[in-house]
Each structure stands twice: as structure tokens, then as C-alpha cells.
């Protein structure tokens, strides 16, 4: 039915999932840094984070990806030449993960910032009054509660991000959609492969939604759910 392309597409799926998972980790790092920076007392940190979220959220992902991947490589080449070093290749995997992570980090910054703001200020003040250091307050009081508030927004970002990985084929990464495209060209049966890929994406996102809703329940233990 799939002219023997199924294994190739499943390998593509594992690439897609790997890129998505690593990008998510990267995005979390950028997001947390961004959120903490936006809420920090330092004006420089606030402005840098503001510039980051404004710029990144304001540009199409594809444009950013091309800019960072090719532009970044060309800059790197120039630097390397000026220093008289050898050519350094940024592998598409690293570039793809960093680029997507960097982009979605900007969205997560806002998600995390909102989640932190949702925690009553008095709690952090109380912790400080008890003599905890700032780091301890963050780790013991803010982060665990932030997770609960962040999960809905986080879930949205994750779903959008899984689908955004389909863009990485433009920078030479061999993801599932890319494989499907090639299979569609070779067999000239586009719909067979696009429907297959659509179903696989749907399966992945459905499982994600289920897992994340369980996680949300777990972190909401002890919180009364109000229904309208």
C-alpha cells in the first residue's frame, strides 16, 4: 500500500519526535530564562527579554529558521575565516533544535511569566521573610506552583511546535513530512502519504494531549476545581 516507504516514513517520525523533544527542552530553558529576566529587578535583563519576545514572536518561523540557519552559518564562516580556522559545519540537527527552541522559548517566556504572576506575591514575600534565599524561593515556592498554571499554555505551545518541526526540512533535516514528500514524488501518490502523515501527526498530538491533561491533574492535586 505504501510501496515499501513505510519504514522510511517511520524513521522520519523518530526524527520528528527527537527534534521536537530536544527543541522543547531548549525552549523550556529559553522560556525560563526569559520569564525570570522579564520579572527581574534588572532593567537590562527586562529589556533584553522584551526585545527577544517581541522580535521572535513577531516574525514567521520559516523566515527565522532561514535567517538563523543560513545567516548564522554564513556569519560563522566569516568569523572562522577571519580567525584563520577551519570550516565549522553546524549540523542541521543542532541548528534545527536550537532554532525551534529559540523561537518557542519566546512563546514559553510569556506562558511562564503569566504562570509566575498567577502565584500570589505574598507567598514569595513570606518565604523571603522566613529567610530563604532568592534561589530557594524560586525553587521551592515559585516553580512547583508555576507548573500548574503553565501547563495549559505549555500544551498549546507543544502542539504547535510538533507541527512546526515540519518546517525543518527546508534546512535539510530529514523529518517525517519531508520523507512523505519525497515518497509522494517518487510514487506519484501524494494523498496516500499525506493522509498517512496526517494520521500519524494526529496520533502523536492526541497522545500528547492525554499525557498533558494527566500531568495537569497531578499538579492540581489539592486545588479545588470550580465548574461553571
Amino acid at each position: 500500500m505504501f510501496h515499501g516507504y513505510l519504514p522510511a516514513i517511520l524513521t522520519g517520525l523518530s526524527n520528528t519526535l527527537l527534534v521536537a523533544a530536544l527543541s522543547l527542552l531548549t525552549a523550556c530553558v529559553f522560556g525560563l530564562l526569559g520569564a525570570v529576566a522579564k520579572l527581574s529587578g534588572s532593567r537590562t535583563a527586562r529589556w533584553t527579554a522584551q526585545a527577544y519576545t517581541t522580535l521572535i514572536r513577531g516574525l514567521p518561523e520559516l523566515v527565522l529558521m532561514l535567517l538563523i540557519f543560513y545567516g548564522g552559518q554564513i556569519l560563522l564562516n566569516k568569523l572562522v575565516e577571519a580567525q584563520g580556522w577551519e570550516y565549522i559545519d553546524v549540523p542541521p540537527y543542532v541548528a534545527g533544535v536550537l532554532t525551534i527552541g529559540f523561537i518557542f522559548g519566546a512563546y514559553l517566556t510569556e506562558t511562564f511569566r503569566g504562570a509566575i504572576l498567577a502565584i500570589p506575591r505574598g507567598q514569595a514575600e513570606a518565604a523571603l521573610a522566613f529567610g530563604m534565599a532568592r534561589g530557594q524561593v524560586l525553587r521551592r515556592i515559585v516553580l512547583p506552583q508555576m507548573v500548574r498554571h503553565a501547563i495549559p499554555g505549555f500544551s498549546n505551545n507543544w502542539l504547535v511546535m510538533i507541527k512546526a518541526t515540519a518546517l525543518v526540512s527546508i534546512i535539510g533535516l530529514d523529518d517525517m513530512l519531508h520523507r512523505a514528500n519525497l515518497a509522494a514524488s517518487a510514487t506519484r501518490e501524494p494523498f496516500t502519504f499525506f493522509v498517512l502523515v496526517a494520521l500519524i501527526y494526529l496520533a502523536v498530538t492526541t497522545v500528547s494531549i492525554w499525557l498533558l491533561s494527566r500531568l495537569e491533574k497531578r499538579y492540581s492535586l489539592g486545588v479545588k476545581v470550580v465548574s461553571f
Binding site: 516507504y5 570550516y87 553546524v90 543542532v94 535539510g172 517518487a186
Partner: protein, 264 residues
């Protein structure tokens, strides 16, 4: 705690992959060459179920590399990122049915042409008498984005609408879907990918095949500007494979007409 561990893992990963990606210096004798190829353009390039690339472009790339006694790595790249990837040194040359045009020559150097096929108009059988601008007035023409054919259409068919597609084979998908009235594409692709297949039933060529003047010199291998040593070696290798008959053997296994561009 968890987040800190994640941060450490990510930074380790990044550092490791950057460290492992140091590529040895490219000596001027070009013993190792990375070749950018496509994969969406049968019969010139396509990806098999086993993940292997095949097609006329691929065979030409291999023949040239063999002739130069160079160790070549084929890098599969989507068409849209082809030129940027070449400038960013993701690979050293492009063998992807790229037509030599004045615009592209501003961004890259080209080898001598390694093939040249005419273009062809395709539409529902009997829909048009000829492919004059008057015949297509107010009709929608489907053509590959960023191609000499797209430029030809923009220049010569100003009274027609244009639908630009991202890959050559999409022209015929759009045509069947009825989103355009007439497709303008490579004569080889239109016959292999469409007219000879069941989907192409009821469609036919409009008028004669067309050679684009502004295309100038057929299809060539693209290099970064200034890579003259590599370009000259490739040109010599192309001459050699034409001379020893291996070019003709390759071409004959794909096409039942002359693609060499000789006598053009």
C-alpha cells in the same frame, strides 16, 4: 532541580554536537566533495523506498565524481534552500537540474551544461489551439516558482494569471485539481510524471515544445562564486564522460530522445 538537570543536559548535547562537527580542512585538490542534490524531481532525482537516491542528476554527479577520483557525499536538500545552502557551504556544488540563468549567475558560477531539454505546455486535450499569449489571455498558467519558465511566463504572458508551485510535479497536481488552465513545465517531467500515466488521461501537449532563449545554456552544475579550480575540474570531467560514451549510456537509460543539448 529538574530544570537544572535539563539545562545541563541540553548544553552538553549542544557542546558535543558542535565539537564533533569540526570538518577537516578542504585541500585545494578537492579529494572530498559534498554534492547538493534534490529528490523531488523524477526521473532526474528521486528517493527510493530504501532511502537511496537515484535519477539522472544523481548518476551524473556520481559519474563526474568518479571521473575526478573524488570521494563524494550526496546531500539531499529541498529546492527552496538550495542556493542559501551552497553559500553557507553546506555543500560544494549543486547537481539538481538547475537551469543556467543570468539571475542565478549573479549568485553562483556554473559548469558547462550537462543537459538541456525543451519545455512543454500541457492542458486538457483540445482546450487550446496554440500557446500564444492571446490563447492564454485571462487563463491561469501553472509554473514552477523561481524558474526560467516562471520568468518566461511573467514576461511573455502578461494578460494571464499565474499560479506558482513549489515543485515541478505539483504543476500537474494543480492542473488535475483544476486550479489552473494550463501547465508549463519540462518536457521530460511532464511526460514521465504525467502524460504517460493514468492521471494524465485527457490531457495533451499544447502546440510544439519550446526552447527558452533566456535560459541561455541549459542545465548546469552550480558552484560558489570563485571556486574556479573545482569548476574547471568538473568541466573536464563532464567532457570526459561525454567523450567516453558513458554520458550517452546514462542518458539512454532514462530518455528516448537527445538531452545532451548538442546541436542546440
Amino acid at each position: 532541580m529538574l530544570h537544572r538537570r535539563l539545562a545541563v543536559t541540553v548544553s552538553l548535547l549542544v557542546v558535543c554536537s558542535l565539537a564533533s562537527s569540526w570538518v577537516g580542512a578542504q585541500a585545494p585538490e578537492w579529494k572530498k566533495i559534498r554534492v547538493g542534490v534534490e529528490g523531488n524531481y523524477p526521473p532526474f532525482s528521486k528517493l527510493g523506498a530504501d532511502g537511496k537516491l537515484s535519477g539522472f542528476d544523481i548518476d551524473i554527479a556520481r559519474a563526474v565524481c568518479k571521473q575526478m577520483a573524488a570521494e563524494c557525499t550526496l546531500v539531499q536538500q529541498e529546492w527552496d534552500g538550495m542556493m542559501p545552502a551552497l553559500s553557507a557551504r553546506k555543500f560544494d556544488m549543486i547537481v539538481a537540474s538547475m537551469t543556467i540563468t543570468p539571475e542565478r549567475q549573479k549568485a553562483a558560477d556554473f559548469s558547462d551544461p550537462y543537459y538541456d531539454v525543451p519545455s512543454r505546455w500541457v492542458a486538457k486535450a483540445g482546450a487550446f489551439k496554440d500557446h500564444s499569449a492571446a490563447a492564454f489571455k485571462g487563463k491561469k498558467i501553472i509554473v514552477l516558482r523561481n524558474s526560467p519558465r516562471a520568468k518566461h511566463v511573467a514576461d511573455k504572458y502578461k494578460d494571464s494569471e499565474v499560479l506558482l508551485v513549489n515543485k515541478e510535479t505539483d504543476i500537474y497536481m494543480e492542473l488535475v485539481a483544476g486550479r489552473g488552465d494550463v501547465g508549463f513545465g519540462s518536457s521530460v517531467v511532464s511526460s514521465e510524471a504525467f502524460l504517460k500515466r493514468p492521471e494524465g488521461k485527457g490531457f495533451a501537449q499544447v502546440g510544439n515544445t519550446v526552447r527558452l532563449d533566456e535560459g541561455g545554456g541549459g542545465v548546469g552544475i552550480a558552484f560558489r562564486k570563485g571556486e574556479t579550480a573545482l569548476r574547471e575540474r568538473v568541466n573536464a570531467a563532464l567532457k570526459a564522460v561525454r567523450a567516453d560514451g558513458s554520458y550517452k549510456r546514462l542518458a539512454d537509460s532514462y530518455f528516448d530522445f537527445d538531452v545532451s543539448g548538442a546541436g542546440n
